[in-house]
């Protein structure tokens, strides 16, 4: 489903080059729940941004659902993000001026669903995260855990095949974090592929597969594991 071959990402600041990813190789299969761990600055977030088409890569090949991402223009990348990828962020990233209904509505608008389809999907997904009764509330009226649930509802609204989560529990206490993890597990069991970046070893263990990123590369252990899977 996701294949990265020899992906590298170099940030250029003046004369200084920073290699965020080098020869990064990873294959993610349909239905995987992968946790990505690694020390700060190892390249986890860069990997996630490239996987989510939020950032371009310098070299290598990246296939998402069989499509060569490197050949897509801005519109193509936007379409693919909207149709195939759902995002969950550490900081929830809800739009503070919009109520829950309108927040979940955002990706559906860009997808071009009609009003009836949008309403159905918004209600269904807010119901799924247990917040259907609060759809007219503003994000500021919810707790952190509830806000993250809204973000998950928004990510799921377009029925993506691929969910990218960047420290989804990073801003939550352990009880709320546990609730969010349970929800992600449930979503994965229903068929959505999840890639989650986390610092929390306990949460990482709950994924079906764990990879470690060090110095912009997938670590040796993971390479061996991938070879074993192959």
């Amino acid at each position: 489903m996701l294949i990265m071959k020899d992906i590298s990402k170099i940030f250029q600041t003046g004369d200084i080059q920073t290699h965020a990813l080098r020869d990064f190789n990873l294959t993610v299969n349909e239905g995987d729940f992968i946790s990505v761990t690694g020390p700060s600055g190892s390249g986890k977030t860069t990997f996630l941004n490239i996987a989510g088409l939020l950032e371009t890569y310098t070299h290598g090949e990246f296939l998402l659902d069989g499509e060569d991402v490197g050949k897509l223009n801005d519109n193509g990348r936007s379409r693919m993000r909207n149709e195939k990828i759902g995002f969950i962020f550490q900081g929830f990233n809800l739009i503070p001026d919009l109520n829950l209904f309108d927040n979940v509505d955002v990706p559906l608008r860009y997808r071009g669903f009609n009003a009836k389809q949008r309403k159905l999907r918004i209600e269904e997904n807010l119901e799924r995260v247990g917040l259907a009764s609060r759809m007219k509330h503003l994000p500021s009226q919810l707790s952190g855990g509830q806000q993250q649930r809204v973000a998950i509802a928004r990510a799921l609204a377009t029925s993506p095949r691929f969910l990218l989560a960047d420290e989804p529990t990073g801003n939550l206490d352990s009880e709320m974090a546990n609730g969010v993890m349970s929800l992600l597990e449930e979503i994965n069991q229903q068929g959505t592929t999840i890639v989650m970046v986390t610092h929390d070893a306990l949460l990482a263990e709950r994924a079906t597969r764990t990879i470690q990123v060090k110095d912009g590369r997938v670590s040796e252990l993971e390479i061996l594991a991938q070879q074993a899977i192959a």
């Binding site: 950032e55 993000r81 995002f87 962020f89 900081g91 990233n93 001026d97 919009l98 955002v106 928004r154």
Partner: protein
Amino acid sequence: MFSYYLKIAWISILRHWGLSLLMICAIGLGIGAAMTTVTVNYLMSANPIPHKSEQLYYVQLDSWDVNDPFDEGKNPPDQMTYTDATNLWKAKKAFRQSVNAQTYAVIEPNDPDLLPIIADGRANTADFFAMFDVPFIYGGGWTEQADINKELVVVINKETNDKVFGGKDSVGETLKIDGDMFKVVGVINTWEPKPRFYDVTTGAFNKSADIFVPFSLIAEEKVRRSGNTNCWKPSGDGLAAFLAGECVWTQLWVELKTEQDKQEYLTFLNAYVEEQKQYGRFLRPLDNRLSNVMQWLENQEVVADDAKMMMAMSFMFLVVCLLNTVGLLLAKFLGKAPEIGLRQALGASKTTLFSQYMIESACIGLAGGILGLILAYLGLKGVESLYGDTMQGLATLDVSMTALAIILSLVSTILAGLYPTWRACNIQPAQQLKSQ
């Protein structure tokens, strides 16, 4: 998506109401100032008779002093002597021709309960009404025969008809003007060409006349002439001597259908002047001119230079206001960077975001345009009260000016919004999402 963009724009404007209000005020002030001066200039320079302004010509002959040219030799006299005007009128070389001059008169209404009225009048020949498409409610103009026979006939305007005859069809009624009984032959509807092109020498924006009488009655002393009179040599005592003298106080308009007609008429004018030279007149070199309506208004500088200057300055002010708006929009849109990054992550392309923020700019522009219209209306009222009668009728916003104000504000704001929107759409989503 358009309605969605409008909804998002509305929410954003309300959320950042302070910034939005500042932008609306900046655009409103700029548009208000620009539209006030544009409207005055537009109405000053409007074509008062667009369908035939190219066929109506004002005639000028240089009959002035050989040693002291009129207007330092740049232009022939702006009016004509009685002798030349009547000679050219009698020659009938144009399709239509009208001599006219300003008069004034006292009307004594038939109803003894009504007080006498001092009326602004115009003494003109019969073709005047047909040449200038004067609209009649009742009756019509007089005939050429009435001019020749010096008949006591009068055409009155609607206002005078309302005052003296209670608005009824007064054709055939008599009206006492300066002690003589005149027969009403026509009543004209409200007719206020702006500028009052047919006589700019007595004020391009003055009211049109209340009564119109045959020009030939001036020589009969049945009506009193007024208006500007310029003489380059003494004319002697008495009206007859004055009329025969070298004083200019009449205006001659001719209607010529084609360019060939114009050339032929000019040839005729030159021949006329050559002939007059034999009588010891027209000592200056030939300088006879035919100016169509717009050329004549331009020649007479109906749009004052200071009005043009004011307009240029008001547009500079609009540019300053727009530069402020650029800054404010930039601050607003860049403040939305996290939201823009998020929307990109959720599937918005740069084109989509560009449309969304341009619509938000346009909404602000529209609100600024409406405020600008209100300010322009107030500005025009101010101009009117400052300049009084001179600006009467010039300080009004018509449909085209209203549309222009809205279009100008929309276009200006969209232009002002281009750079901030472009900057906003080029935000790197990854950086914004991480920094939240």
